[in-house]
């Protein structure tokens, strides 16, 4: 069985302009959303605060729940249905007046308020995460430095194995992927939590994976098909690896979609990030990374001519 014809010869490079426009639109949409919302919606592990996931034996109305929270001055918390109507997620950002670093009392008082209010209905805590603001700040710092670190290592590795221009193409492609994913999340109103950051790092790894397979074929073809035009070689390489690119994306998407559907609630947003990232990553390997390599190459050739 073959999904991609053996002798396919699609001219990827000629679609550069359209690709750039598409990417611009996606990135812009994301950026606009980010600006409107004042930056990405960071989860409490970055801002500090308390998250309580509760399981109610009998589902209660959200309005009633909010009332119960107002009794203890937490009426402004975010309340979400999480999975089934019996599972509620309550998130409260770090409250100044709660003062000290110690948020653990907050979760206890929330449970207490519900037990008082909803007599006869058993409320159990499924999950509690409480994070002091200091930890949150530290986490933001370490997130940024770890992403930067990963990018540095990757650039070094690619520059070593291929040429520098491939490294640039690769890094631009993956920054493009991450940016669009974060933008999409902002548009969809989803939080950037720790698992999402893990997903972003995975997307970086995966996107690179793709780009390298293509670059490897380009490298090989450059050696073998010396006489041909650079752009033609690029196109040829893209076509030759298309089959593999499509299949791998397919299998990866397959499992991630399965995770999205059957995985636990906590994993859903994580899987969504991966779905977006893997799709965009595949697209960027074909339409974003290589045009950059071509552009760089053209600049190099132009410089050579001047000499």
């Amino acid at each position: 069985m073959e999904l991609i014809r053996r002798d396919i010869n699609f001219d990827f490079l000629s679609k550069r302009k359209q690709a750039v426009m598409l990417s611009m639109v996606l990135i812009l949409a994301g950026l606009i959303s980010l600006v409107i919302h004042g930056g990405p919606d960071l989860g409490i592990e970055f801002t500090g605060g308390v998250l309580v996931e509760l399981h109610f034996e009998n589902a209660e109305d959200i309005a009633d729940i909010r009332d119960a929270l107002s009794d203890i001055n937490l009426g402004n918390s975010e309340i979400k249905v999480f999975g089934t109507p019996n599972d509620i997620l309550i998130t409260t950002e770090q409250l100044e007046s709660i003062g000290s670093q110690d948020n653990s009392q907050l979760s206890a008082s929330i449970i207490q308020a519900f037990s008082n209010r909803f007599q006869g209905n058993t409320v159990t805590e499924s999950r509690v995460e409480s994070i002091g603001p200091k930890i949150g700040e530290e986490l933001v710092g370490s997130t940024v430095s770890s992403i930067a670190l990963a990018l540095v290592f990757l650039m070094i590795y690619i520059s070593w194995r291929f040429e520098f221009k491939f490294a640039i193409g690769a890094v631009v492609a993956l920054m493009h992927d991450v940016l669009i994913t974060v933008g999409m999340f902002s548009i969809l109103g989803k939080e950037i939590t720790l698992p999402i950051v893990a997903a972003l790092l995975t997307i970086i790894g995966y996107s690179l994976n793709d780009t390298i397979v293509v670059s490897d074929r380009i490298r090989e073809n450059l050696k073998v098909l010396r006489r041909e035009n650079f752009n033609d070689i690029i196109n040829r390489s893209l076509n030759q690896t298309l089959s593999r690119t499509v299949i791998t994306s397919l299998t990866t998407l397959m499992v991630v979609v399965i995770l999205f559907i059957w995985g636990s609630e906590v994993i859903k947003d994580f899987s969504l990030a991966l779905i977006i990232g893997v799709s965009i990553g595949t697209y960027s390997s074909l339409f974003v990374a290589t045009p950059i390599v071509v552009k760089y190459h053209e600049m190099q050739e132009a410089k050579k001519k001047l000499k």
Partner: protein, 629 residues
Amino acid sequence: MKRDNRFKWILIIVFIVASGYYLYPTFKYYNLSDEVKNDPMNIEMVTDLERKAIKRGLDLQGGVRLLLEIQLPSLVEKLAINRDDMFYEIFNEAVENTGTAENDFLVKFEQAAQSRNVRLERYFDRDRRMDENSDVRPVMDYLRDEASDGVRQSLGILRNRVDQFGVAEPTIQPQGNSRVIVELPGVDDIQRAKELIGKTAQLDFRLLRPDATFTQLIDLLDKTLKGETIDSTTVASDSTQAEKPSPESTEVNISDLFGDSSATGTETATVNQQLFGEKPFTSLLTNIGDNRVRALEKNVAVINAILQRDDVKAALPTDSEFIFDADPVTVGDENYYELLLLNKDAALGGEVVTEAKVRINTGSDPSKAGQPEVLMEMNRQGSSEWSRITGANIGKRIAIVLDDKVMSAPVVNTRIPSGSSVIEGQFTMDDAKDLAIVLRTGSFKADMANIQENTVGPSLGADSIKKGTVSTMIGLICVAVFMVIYYKVSGTIADLALMLNILFVMAILAGFHATLTLPGIAGLILTIGMAVDANVLIFERIREELLTGKTVRAAIDSGYSRAFVTILDANVTTLITSIVLYQYGTGPIKGFALTLSIGILCSMFTAIVFTRALFDFFAGKFKMQSLSI
């Protein structure tokens, strides 16, 4: 060639057998029926199996993870003597400027003192010999030592407490110089565990201030509060029905009168309207005769807030402290807490307590008989002090204070030579037991604040495992079926490699006692999708080579050799990000990075070595002219 092959096969078989060996305990453990698990005869076998099985993260088995941090300000305050205004000036400036660096408070404290040319010896010199001419250094070293000592001590106390509480496999570890990680897997009563861990357990015995002083200070508070422009006409004339002790009680808005109400969590307080204008503080209290007062439960927070105000703190003398009783008295529908005025300094500190036991009250007082109470014993020095103190204060009350709440304040009837004291209150058996544990293990030198908590209830954990297993199965099946459809028999070979892959990853996790978390399961599933890539690269290459007319064996050869380089480069990059993620992530994320990394490494092995061995075997044995790929 043949020798290479034999070596490959030996390697493969060794790995498979080893995996089986490492995974067997997990398999057996999860298939044990509950009945067998709970049978006490089997306890050794079960624990042994559990230890060898794959370790589940907290998010899969339920439990609590706490990150505690030593609160340096409170430690410094506690260690200091002669705390005067200058001390608090330096102290407060340091608190304001403390940044996120570890032990930064000490640095800022030192700076604040130096900028004012203050010698810190006068606050910390106790009975240590310090050079008259020394600068700030030795005191700072002393404070730093106390800080690390404090962390070390809290580790010990936590271990003791957790031990006595009874948790299966707790983890209590320091992190950096000022933090402690506590992990309690599989705890049933999470609230109780948290309270046990978090209790500072600062115990001391304090005398009450004389009655005259009590009345005087209440008066003083009334006057201080009146200094506000309180318009008594803003009092809402709510028709709240008068309850026995306070005639004409009214609801008033806290924010109107005493300022910001957000710290108290309530909006109103109940006051005695008659007294309110003249004596705002007294109006919050209820007189119970004998110079004792108590307050309605809803007023407690307001009163505490008032007592924390700067102007109030300045007005009150530094030798006294208002403290509430820990247990309420119920009258009708309402709970009341007694408010006492104690000496700020302890007559006797809690470190003399050597033992704490729970017993049932067998006295004649019906309100107490049958209730659990905690009996404490003291060491020799404590006992003789206690004897002296009780002897000198017969007829007066002595308060037993635990973490700024009065546990008991009985009247001293006789001198107590035996060094024993009792805390009675409204305890459940569990409460009493926990209190005894906490008294027995001693108090934290410094407050340990809970700066991060991750708790997962057991049912969520089990649910996550179930969903994770289901997803993995479905994922495997889908990918496997696809591979067979697309690559036919070769696809089946790839599927075998996939199964082996998963087997190896799980075995490695079990063998190295690595922890499997929920994201870890996600990582496993992701590996399924990405691992197939190696096979795809090889197969696509082989297809290409076959099209150029090569023989089956030659195509297989060049397919593998050419693809190898690509696989290496591609997987190394994913590995790099995985490793960075492992270093950076906490618990669950680490689990994800771990399974992803292990999965990728194993997939390289199975794709390159295992499938190649299989291909070679078939190609050699059957002298194939064509390849089903």
